[in-house]
């Protein structure tokens, strides 16, 4: 028996997300009296693979095959199912990100294993296997029971945190049988060197209250200052003031940073659906009755264009102390 974790890598490196998944798996494994086995797919060096041991992985299975160079969910699901069988996995864990969302459902059908997408806690019970997840875009929570023998869980981002538990993880290279890829990637466009919105610990967002694309300079400056990412409300991306990739909310990206700033955002329910899992929300709005203040932890009633430069100065001053 084991808890198997698919740890995605980005150009050969793991991210906080991968370590969070291992931490979560480790807590589950302890309660089940078993161990955590990580599965890495792609070209990752041994030292990096071994780093998963810091959070409790007892073993890392590494599958490297040219056919897995592009992230195609069909062969990936095949490899994960094969390793899950080999390691007698009771639980298979993935992140609830682009990759996890693409792979977990296929894996579920392949293994006839029920999946809970976006779990926010470790199971409240193992028999029956019951996990809590958000439903209705965060407006309610549901307790979901998985009835199949093997259980698949994807973990909602930033919902568990990092818990160290140093183990000397054994690395095992494994030759999986890889299905042929049926799609062809023609072109990849990636920005590098920028903090990705989904990974960012701090997110600075602007809404229609910023009046126009020309006023987003200070939003970017604040993001840079705090090592964060920029985001926006839907109308802002619909009107092409900002790129679509920055749109957060129910129909955009769902994020859970430690700190979220909303400048000139009214706080419509669809917007909140994407940001309400943030640990701390700060709102700046001219309207004291704006619904964003019901979701925020800290608020300023005022003009965002005036507050933004003042805030940048105040943070710089605090940093210099």
């Amino acid at each position: 028996m084991s808890v198997l974790v698919y740890t995605e890598n980005w150009d050969g490196k793991f991210k906080k997300l991968s370590f969070e998944l291992i931490s979560y798996a480790n807590e589950m494994a302890k309660q089940l009296g078993t161990e955590v086995i990580a599965l890495s797919i792609g070209n990752v060096e041994d030292v990096e693979l071994k780093s998963l041991g810091a959070y409790g992985a007892a073993k890392v299975v590494s599958v490297n095959d040219d056919k897995l160079a592009s992230l195609e969910n069909q062969p990936y699901a095949g490899v994960i199912a094969e390793v899950a069988a080999k390691e007698a996995a009771k639980v298979v864990l993935l992140a609830n990100n682009n990759a996890g969302k693409a792979i977990a459902p296929r894996l579920s059908v392949k293994m006839k294993a029920g999946v809970i997408a976006g779990a926010t806690e470790v199971p409240s019970s193992y028999d029956p296997f019951t996990v809590k997840k958000k439903v209705f875009t965060g407006k309610a929570l549901a307790n979901v029971v998985v009835k199949s023998d093997v259980k698949i869980v994807t973990l909602a981002q930033n919902s568990f945190g990092l818990v160290e538990d140093a183990k000397d993880a054994a690395v095992e290279a494994f030759d999986a049988s890889v299905e042929d890829v049926k799609t062809a990637v023609k072109e990849t466009n990636k920005v590098t060197g920028k903090v990705l919105l989904n990974d960012a610990e701090v997110v600075i967002a602007g809404g229609r209250g910023l009046k126009g694309p020309e006023n987003f300079g200070p939003v970017e400056e604040l993001a840079e200052l705090l090592g964060g990412a920029t985001a926006c409300s839907r109308p802002v991306s619909d009107e092409d003031w900002r790129p679509h990739s920055e749109h957060v909310g129910q129909t955009g990206k769902i994020i859970a940073p430690n700190l979220y700033f909303a400048f000139g955002i009214s706080g419509a329910i669809q917007h909140l659906g994407g940001v309400s899992s943030s640990k701390v929300i700060v709102a700046v709005n001219t309207d004291k009755d704006a619904p964003i203040f019901e979701a925020a932890d800290y608020g300023i009633i005022g003009d965002a264009q005036k507050i933004l430069p003042e805030l940048i100065d105040a943070i710089k001053a605090a940093k210099a102390e």
Binding site: E72, Q74, N96, N98, K101, A102, A104, P105, S108, V109, A113, G114, V115, I116, A117, G118, K133, V135, F136, G138, K139, A140, L141, A142, N143, V144, V145, V146, K147, K182, T183, A184, V185, K186, N189, V191, K194, H244, H247, Q250, T251, L259, I269, Q270, K279, V282, A283, F293, A295, D297, Y298, G299, I300, I301, I307, L311, A314, I315, A317, A318
Partner: protein
């Protein structure tokens, strides 16, 4: 070429969720039902592609797993422009159950489109499961889809960017924002025509759900927002630093 759009019937996005039956269910009474926002975008894009295809795309069909109560939402899909509709007569139990049902009818289609998630249970699962049941490729997080001649290119979002993927039919496209700009709104003529379009009801297949939603909770109420004076921005910085400890 035939396109199938999976429509999920969900509460309007502004709905306040209330619980019923000792927290074992979500209250359905008084809820305004709509087409899941991403499914509406998928349907709109499919219609645009059909219109531009010069007859190569022969039909756009919508399918929903649900009781008779979902028919008004399906009629809306027909009013937007779908040619016909299939209702699989069953209460949707979980994503696996729904995908298994849809797989029965999806075999006859070249392209199947689903939304990236259903705004009720947020599982992002039906599209991927369906493609595995059908044993066909799927492309997730699709933000663009172009068909030229027989050549199909879809753009999918990846971390920090996007990829253009060339794919042959049959396949499943799991779509998100960007696939089209605005969902189409039914016009009067469309609503009139929708009444006459076929809405076929088919019996459900024998399928076991793999998960069960046993109970619900409402999120804990949030503490009141701490207001900081606009003339005292440095106070906010010190609160974030010393109280919230996030700076």
């Amino acid at each position: 070429m035939k396109i199938l759009i999976c429509l999920s019937n969900v509460p309007d996005t502004t709905t306040k969720i209330k619980l019923a039956g000792d927290n074992s269910a979500v209250e359905k009474a008084g809820v305004q039902w709509i087409i899941n926002p991403w499914d509406e975008l998928a349907l709109t894009r499919a219609l645009e592609l059909k219109e531009a295809s010069g007859g190569a795309i022969t039909s756009v069909t919508v399918v929903t797993v649900g009781g008779a109560d979902v028919e008004p939402t399906m009629r809306k899909g027909l009013a937007i422009g779908a040619d016909d509709a299939i209702r699989i007569d069953a209460e949707p139990k979980d994503a696996y159950y729904v995908a298994a049902q849809i797989a029965e009818v999806a075999k006859d289609f070249d392209i199947v489109m689903t939304g990236i998630e259903s705004s009720d249970y947020n599982s992002s699962a039906v599209g991927g499961m369906l493609s595995e049941f059908l044993n066909v490729p799927s492309v997730s997080s699709v933000s663009k889809m172009e068909i030229e001649g027989g050549d199909i290119n879809v753009t999918r979002e990846i971390d920090g960017g996007s990829e253009i993927v060339n794919v042959a039919t049959p396949f499943v496209a799991i779509v998100q924002k960007g696939i089209t700009k605005e969902p189409r709104i039914p016009a009067m003529r469309g609503i009139m025509m929708a009444r006459k379009k076929p809405l076929n009801v088919v019996a459900a297949a024998e399928v076991e759900a793999l998960t069960e939603f046993v109970s619900y909770e409402l999120p804990a109420a949030k503490a009141a927002c701490k207001m900081v004076d606009a003339e005292n921005v440095s106070e906010l910085v010190s609160l974030l630093k010393n109280e919230a400890k996030v700076l």
